[in-house]
């Protein structure tokens, strides 16, 4: 009872990366709270799936295995979680801020009347004092995220409602195997006890999923462009530089919204979080949502015509100039110095 729960996304029997990251975070929260970490997996063909989950320190894995539970549709997954949470009374429930987690989370939180915070960039445990009501709380989940155009960082709490729910994007938390030999308990759910035919009213007719074409998360060097790059055409320079340096191209939300780059290249709170060796920010002003996705880069170069761009304050090198002028020089001098 009152444990930390992680909803694990699974496709073709493989637990999603973001769920592994959340298991790692969930383990550390459970340690602080001196409670257990439990995982929930809902899908089909899940024999042995627990072996992907135990190494992250899960004490219990709840498995709902039924042909009808994959591909994901909202209602059966929501019904299972609602009933399971109602029974198990988790104090915290985490899920990935993926199309699945962002579809499922709000539905479950609404049914349980529990608070949910989307796209958290940090999760901590701490106390709270409500002076007006004269109440104090221990061990609440601080759900921390940028808000209001990134000008502020908000800490959200759910003092009275359980579970305290949060979604977190892939890459925000670091995944770490606790112990490859760690073993917990498997609890197979009797699916018929949880869902009825009415839960299967939405049907998936067709599905085309692709492997991710770009892997900016794993790239050691990222050349990222913002609105200041000016056009899709100008973005070509960034690709050239990335190729020469052996890196990938990323983009700010403003650049993606303007059609300069594909959505899967978006870095930041609502995109991917990256920690490369070198991050070259080209014409990126650096709102906090963007910085949230890249500020742990080992080295940051900012190329910007605006000397006061917020990104400059976290940069190791600031090149005060035009992207179109600087990048060709970087390519030229990289080549001349590595010959």
């Amino acid at each position: 009872m009152n444990n930390v729960f992680v909803y694990c996304e699974v496709e073709d029997g493989v637990v999603a990366e973001v769920s592994q990251e959340l298991l790692t975070k969930g383990r550390s929260l459970a340690n602080q709270l001196k409670c257990k970490l439990e995982a929930v997996v809902i899908g089909k063909g899940l024999d042995g799936v627990e072996n992907q989950i135990f190494p992250y320190g899960a004490d219990v894995v709840h498995i709902a295995d039924d042909l009808r539970l994959e591909p994901f549709t909202t209602s059966p997954h929501a019904t299972i979680l609602i009933k399971l949470f109602d029974k198990e009374k988790p104090q915290i429930a985490l899920m990935g801020a993926t199309p699945i987690g962002r579809d499922l989370g709000p539905r479950v939180s609404s049914a349980l009347y529990s608070g949910l915070t989307a796209d958290c960039t940090s999760l901590e445990i701490g106390p709270h004092e409500d002076k007006k009501a004269g109440k104090t709380y221990e061990n609440l989940l601080y759900q921390i995220r940028p808000a209001f155009g990134g000008n502020i960082i908000a800490t959200i709490i759910n003092p009275d409602c359980r579970p305290q729910m949060a979604t977190v994007r892939e890459g925000v938390m670091k995944k770490e195997v606790l112990n490859p030999e760690y073993k917990g308990k498997v609890k197979k759910l009797d699916v018929a006890q949880y869902v009825s035919d009415e839960d299967f009213i939405v049907s998936v007719i067709e599905r085309h999923m692709e492997e991710k074409k770009v892997n900016i998360k794993g790239a050691p060097i990222i050349v990222a462009g913002g609105y200041g790059v000016g056009s899709k055409e100008n973005f070509k320079m960034l690709y050239e530089l990335a190729e020469v340096l052996g890196g990938e191209v990323g983009a700010s939300r403003a650049a993606v919204d303007s059609g300069y780059a594909e959505h899967e290249r978006q870095i930041g709170q609502t995109g991917v979080t990256v920690r490369p060796k070198l991050y070259i920010a080209c014409g990126i002003s650096g709102q906090v949502q963007h910085r949230a996705g890249m500020e742990e880069s080992a080295q940051i170069i900012s190329i910007n015509t605006d000397p006061d761009a917020p990104i400059n304050s976290i940069a190791d090198y600031v090149i005060h100039g035009d992207v179109g002028e600087v990048i060709p020089k970087m390519i030229r001098f990289y080549k001349s110095n590595t010959k």
Binding site: I153, T155, V204, R207, D316, Y317, V318
Partner: protein, 291 residues
């Protein structure tokens, strides 16, 4: 097929995409006045999907529903100019401080007052919060199924909708029964622009509160042209439990707001000249950062 009854959920939001330098006041607080209030972009995508159904199925009625302060009536007019049939502004101090759950509850209770509905279409998320929670939570409160991340409504009949979903790594076609809640992505068709005839028709559309401040020259219009009356709902017009509204109906509380203050690192500042860039590349190669 007879027309559908569609409600489009829309929100007026500060334009956080264009936060300029004047967005923050000298004391470090947000300068709301510097941010223009706009029709939430994905709600416009949602409106377009509704209007396309109206084009396809004559007799379809598209109603807008928004919750917000009095000035949010602006986006109802904006929707009318683009082809919506009518709109409701849900406004009351009792809703102040609502989180997504309290907002969804109030919206769901308002929807119940708006009569039979086949389809509720909303933008996936609003740019001021990016939570993507209100659509699914309204669906849950109403007991309707939901389909999120919709890019295109492919087909509809009086019982079902078939929709294409655009997910992060692919697409999916799903069929769902009515009544239903859909949320629409920005990758969907952009909303049609204002129609000049509709602009003329609706430019004096006002809520009852706005009419009190309107020029007396136009007051005669509202009796003879009922379509100019934007319906205003307050907490008294919906059946709602007080404790589920506003701050008290919000399980999430804001514990702390921190203004973002940047601690400047000691950055090396370079000029875009050959000498500086050459040195930079040499330094990065030497430190094995590149190369």
């Amino acid at each position: 097929m007879k027309g559908l009854k569609i409600i489009v959920l829309a929100k007026q939001v500060p334009d956080t995409r264009n936060v300029g330098k004047d967005a923050m006041k000298a004391d470090g607080t947000v300068n709301r006045a510097a941010l223009p209030a706009i029709f939430n972009p994905e709600d416009l995508n949602a409106l377009e999907q509704a209007l396309q159904l109206k084009d396809r199925y004559p007799g379809t009625i598209v109603s807008l529903l928004t919750m917000g302060p009095g000035r949010a009536a602006e986006i109802i007019r904006e929707g009318l100019y683009r082809g919506a049939d009518d709109g409701v502004l849900l406004t009351d101090r009792a809703f102040a401080g609502s989180d997504t759950l309290a907002t969804s509850y109030a919206l769901a209770q308002a929807i119940k007052e708006m009569g039979e509905v086949d389809l509720i279409i909303a933008g996936r998320q609003a740019i001021d919060g990016d939570t993507a929670q209100v659509g699914p939570q309204v669906a849950e409160k109403l007991g309707f199924p939901q389909v999120t991340y919709v890019e295109k409504i492919m087909d509809a009949d009086s019982k079902h909708v078939t929709a294409l979903r655009r997910l992060e790594n692919g697409v999916e076609t799903v069929k769902a029964p009515l009544p239903l809640v859909l949320t629409v992505n920005s990758s969907a068709a952009p909303c049609r622009t204002r129609n000049a005839t509709l602009l003329m028709k609706y430019k004096h559309a006002r809520t009852v509160t706005e009419r009190q401040e309107a020029s007396e020259d136009y007051l005669f219009l509202y009796d003879s042209r009922p379509f100019l009356n934007i319906r205003e709902m307050t907490v008294n017009d919906i059946k709602a439990e007080q404790e589920q509204l506003g701050l008290s109906g919000s399980p999430t509380k804001v514990k702390k707001i921190e203004n973002v203050v940047l601690q400047a690192k000691d950055a090396k500042v370079l000029k875009p000249v050959d000498k500086d860039i050459d040195l930079l590349m040499k330094e990065l190669i030497l430190s094995h950062t590149i190369g």
